[in-house]
Symmetry: C2
DNA sequence: GATATTTGATATGGTCTATAACAATTATCA
DNA sequence: TGATAATTGTTATAGACCATATCAAATATC
């Protein structure tokens, strides 16, 4: 330990951290400087991702779909007749962790596991009629409430450029 | 359940999922179609974030610093004399979860808690000399191995545009 | 000076992620 | 063919991360 243990005063101000509810005679503790942090791609990327997921969950509150569940429904709809391993692996979900997820979707009658006749080890995944209906409503919510918000924040062109760069990072980094 | 339980054949092909190591007479199972998934900002954002963190950890392997730990060191260096609550909250870390994190950094002699003389409840955070040295090396690694990789993938201008858009999302979404 | 608030800390639970292992089934190949 | 290896879905389990309630010590408030 190379640091003196006798503390200098933290600052001349009061102990109130960052809420600014002292009266006007007190200089409220100024906000912290992010410094190089705001230039760190990983940091900003993570914060943005949390905000986007948060907004997604709010938009989907009526359907009770998480981003991960939505991605499963989308992928199963686009690729009917695939088994759990295939769906899970393309989503980056490990097979063991995919089981509980499917249990959930199946218990809500959104998708179904069907024992394959080709390979009786595997379960073919399909959307139920209810699953298709829910997914259709989910897509509309995402388009009108979620992605629309993005467009009005960034503009259509910027939003597409952002998507392209993120895709490049996701696939080539 | 509105789906017939008698499975149709998953496809005409073999059971080999996506690895393509059957011989040439077999049509290997084609890759799944991502479809609308590749247009979902949240999905691409999450995948990109995972890749970036993964690369960060590889670049920092010699220093054993996670992105979160790096952000703490950066913030403490930039804001000496702040207490745990202030540092944690600006990083979006809850106070209870920040304790173990600091225990780790302090046990490695990278930062130190100093009891404040102003407010004897709070712990002032500072970097030790070793912490400053390690952070300096970490910054170099990030700049030369991590961010440099981003620049060569996207180009300087695009990288800055990406950062700007992500910052906007993180703060205004 | 009595009450409320703040700080760091502990305990705890939930979710997400990662690995090992198992039974049933299928593939491989001697 | 039949013995062995590999695959599929599953369970169990452990770790990381995140969130809430609660506590003692210290401080603020009135």
């Amino acid at each position: 330990m190379t640091v003196s243990k006798t503390a200098e005063k933290s600052s001349g101000k009061s102990a109130d951290p960052a809420k600014g509810r002292k009266d006007a005679t007190e200089v409220q503790s100024e906000a912290l400087q992010l410094g190089e942090l705001s230039e760190q791609l990983g940091y900003v990327l993570k914060r943005a991702q949390l905000k986007v997921f948060e907004n997604f969950l709010r938009c989907m509150a009526s359907l009770q779909l998480t981003p991960a569940q939505f991605s499963v429904l989308l992928l199963v709809e686009k690729n009917p007749g695939r088994n759990q391993t295939e769906i899970a692996s393309t989503l980056g979900i490990l097979r063991p962790n995919f089981v509980a997820m499917l249990d959930n979707l199946e218990s809500r009658d959104l998708c179904a596991r069907i024992r394959s006749t080709n390979d009786r080890r595997s379960h073919i995944l399909v959307l139920t009629d209810k699953g298709k209906a829910v997914l259709a409503r989910a897509k509309k919510l995402v388009a009108t409430k979620h992605e629309a918000r993005l467009n009005e924040l960034l503009g259509q062109a910027n939003r597409e450029a952002l998507l392209a760069m993120l895709s490049k990072i996701a696939s080539e980094f």
